[in-house]
Amino acid sequence: MEAGLLIQYTVIALAVVLSTGYVARRQFPAAVRRLRVVLAVPMVRDDKPRWLQRLGRAVAPPTRGAAGGCGGCNGCGPTD
């Protein structure tokens, strides 16, 4: 596969992955949070290498305040 086509496919793959992440975050915020927690917990264990722990902390979702069932102050639909 020539270089030009490879670059194109890479760009496309990136766009698709970012779009999927965006849609998932917007439509299913709670599920995405849970997924991130599930991925992050094994990564930040003490016996894992430092770079993995740093990655795990980055993957983990930001801590959320007490708030009730809503996804925070900006999750209420088209006033986005």
Binding site: Q8, V16, S19, T20, R26, C76, G77, P78, D80
Partner: protein, 622 residues
Amino acid sequence: MSAAGNIRLALVGSPNCGKTALFNLLTGSRQKVANYAGVTVERKEGRFNAASGRSYAVLDLPGAYSLDAASLDEAVTRDLCRGFYPGEPAPDVIVCVVDATNLRLHLRFALEVRELGKPMVLAVNMMDAAKRRGIEVDLAALERELGIPVVPTVAIRRDGAEALVAKLDGVAGSIHEPRGHMSAAAMVDPDALHAETRRLLSLAVTMPRRTAEIDDTLDRWLLNPAIGLLSLATVMFLIFQAVYAWATPMMDAIDAGTVALGEFVGATLPEGPLNSLLVDGIIAGLGGVIIFLPQILILFAFIIALEESGYLPRAAFLLDRMMSKAGLSGRSFIPLLSSFACAIPGIMATRSIQDPRDRLATILVAPLMTCSARLPVYALLIGAFIPQQQVGIFNLQGLVLFGLYVAGILSALAVSWVMKKWRRDKGEHPLMLELPSYRIPHPRDVLIGLWERAWIFLRRVGGIILALTILLWFLLSFPSAPADAVAPAIDYSFAGRIGHAMTAIFAPLGFNWQICIALIPGLAAREVAVSSLATVYALSAASDEAATAALTPVISDTWSLATALSLLVWFIYAPMCISTLATIKRETNSWKQVGIATGYLFGLAYLASLVTYQVAVLLGAG
């Protein structure tokens, strides 16, 4: 106490005192709209800098008739002023806004706020309207009697807030707590506040006898049973005519631009998947939706102007009886009207409905109000299938669009009526709706409102619509056709196969596989159905120039009228918006209600579309 130099103000007042116009005047477009933590009450914050260089943070609190809260909005206002609201610091100064033309009602609230004992300034708004009506307000006397600083404001004039800012700046953060109080005994007596209000009015305000002459004259006509309803229908109808007549030139310009851009990019970039993603996916998809922005803006210009003019409660007055018979209340009118923009804030606005049964009924029918996201879908189908001709003096396309809106409204009334019969409730449903003075809408407020709307729309385009368009393009382009393919390449893609599978369920409705596949991303946002159709057809186009052609002529050539009608009807009912369903869950805190809403809406959609399609085919439109 706030951070260096940053003084926190809270704007409070009874509804219709012009508080929001004052907020707009002070903060311009430097506003942030969100929600208070834990509840879905809107939180509006803005900032401004005074001439002295000091910066102010302003919170526009929900309007409240009384601190003795009867609704959630009022409870938030009350708690925040007291400094009790979790997560929100107490304001440094409370600015209580009152309507100079209606001091008898508003001063009572100001007295309640004064009793909180927090530093406070009274802003007497609409001084211009008061002067025009011959109402004279002695501000110095008020200041003396109330023991708090009193300033005039005219929220609709550019310099209308100068006195307020000067006063806030001048005393440089050392605004005193009020120097006047009601006696403790007096506070127990509910009439004491009114007595005190009357005393203040007699000292400080001179009202001419016929102060509300204009209101009275207008109401004589606009609330008259026959003329009132007729004018309401006429106003609504004219709005829809204007939407079509005025938007067309702008839409043509956007269309030409999109096609030109698509051709340019298509020719410039080398052939290949990236070219397809950009031209058939993104440009075609986003262009297909952006073209409807002029129509949305024109519609909203009218809705905002009507809101500002004070006419809407009159419409609620005329429709109340009919709405109560259907199981809604006149108070549902404004949340339902907001739902014409988007059901989500409309459903949230039902928090001002005190009666829980009315509130639930309103929430469940709000999705039937034709929201702005349906407009691109309707506009597309009307543009493709309804001829541009005149019926008498009326534009046929505008007539059909109006008809679709009416269908949504009538369906909502019917559904609500059925729910009322089901409930068999006999209780009392309160109304108590204030009819404020008529006002000429100020162009600045209308423009700010329009700008917000346009921005919300464009953010959706650049956000969810863009993301879904990319994903859909991907699903439609891969896997590519095998070497011995006979059908168009698109049939072999993921989305193509799914679409074909779905036609098993949707063929009786006249939906072809392209429509079926477009419905799936349409679940996230209705307009995405339009961009999805654009992408699907661009990708299945036989030649290059067919690919960049606009969507409208393509579907008008390939679909039958029956299919178009059936799809229109589908969109009247189907809850193609997961966010709305999520909002219903949040507001009712019940999966059962969400289930009921989803079930009945999809059920109605399927049934109505089925009937529409089959009847249309029978009549020869297939």
